[in-house]
């Protein structure tokens, strides 16, 4: 089961405030792929990793945004049905919580 597959609305925090970002996860022949779209740019997710735990599907990835600012972010979330919770972290800054909801097709 790959419950992260789909489109998700996430709110994440940066040093200059919160951003609304749309994530798309797809299952490809090469494995799980994802993109993040926000503020007029779409960036690929890199080093996506996943494992199934007792709490649900646990997914980690990295991404580099350039809008509204250049920032490298690491994510660590757990999927439970149509919601997703976890945290993101910019470098060595304190991690901040992330919540997301599955966008219904």
């Amino acid at each position: 089961m790959n419950s992260i597959i789909g489109i998700w609305d996430l709110k994440l925090r940066t040093p200059i405030g919160s951003l609304a970002v749309v994530y798309t996860f797809t299952d490809t022949a090469d494995g799980l792929r994802g993109t993040a779209e926000g503020r007029g740019e779409t960036v690929p997710l890199v080093d996506i990793d996943q494992q199934t735990t007792a709490d649900g599907q646990h997914v980690t990835w990295r991404q580099s945004i350039t809008r509204p600012i250049t920032l490298n972010l690491d994510f660590d979330v757990t999927v439970a049905g149509d919601t997703l919770t976890g945290h993101s972290r910019a470098g060595r800054l304190p991690r901040s919580s992330v919540t997301g909801n599955r966008r219904n097709a």
């Binding site: 040093p15 200059i16 405030g17 580099s64 509204p68 250049t70 920032l71 972010l73």
Partner: protein
Amino acid sequence: MHVQIVLFDGFDPLDVIAPFEVLAAGSDAVQGELIVELVSAQGPRPVRSGTRGLVLTATSRLDPTKPGYVLVPGASGPTVGDPDEGVETIPVLLARFGETEAVTLVREALRNPEVTVATVCGGSLALAMAGLITARHAVTHVQGMEVLAATGVHAVPARVVDDGDLVSAGGVTSGLDLGLHILEREYGPRIAHAVETYFEYERRGTVWRNTGRQPVAV
């Protein structure tokens, strides 16, 4: 040689004035060969700082074709508070700099082999957040070092970091050291020393450069 100090809304006054005075004194010591001026990306205008609304006047538009230095100061404002609640924290002010014409002009300055870009305090963070100095070595105010690293810059905790055509200085007062470093770099130690003597101020720390032996952790 020109040194253009770039004013923007919310700038930190001491980040501007410290190198301005040092470079002006250095200019006197080389009989006016160095021209130091306050500029803005928008042209001549009064520019409001982030400290008690103190205003300095930009006398011309930042010109990235002028040989010499383009010096970007940091911002002054709250370091705590939630930007989501409208608090204009220093990172917010610095990110706003990244949405002005200044970005295009500083990008041109970085591409111009006859121009060195210099920063004081949050100036390097403004350029980093605008994506202009990714993978370069730089320093910023101690409170901004982690954000600087998160933008993909190699954050080096030295008072002045000389990365070739990008020279950055740490927090606020390090602008004095930056000014003196620029004088020594361009005109030699006797000019820098003469200004140090006149100002009753001595630089501290080693100017970090990405050269020489790499230290082994002990």
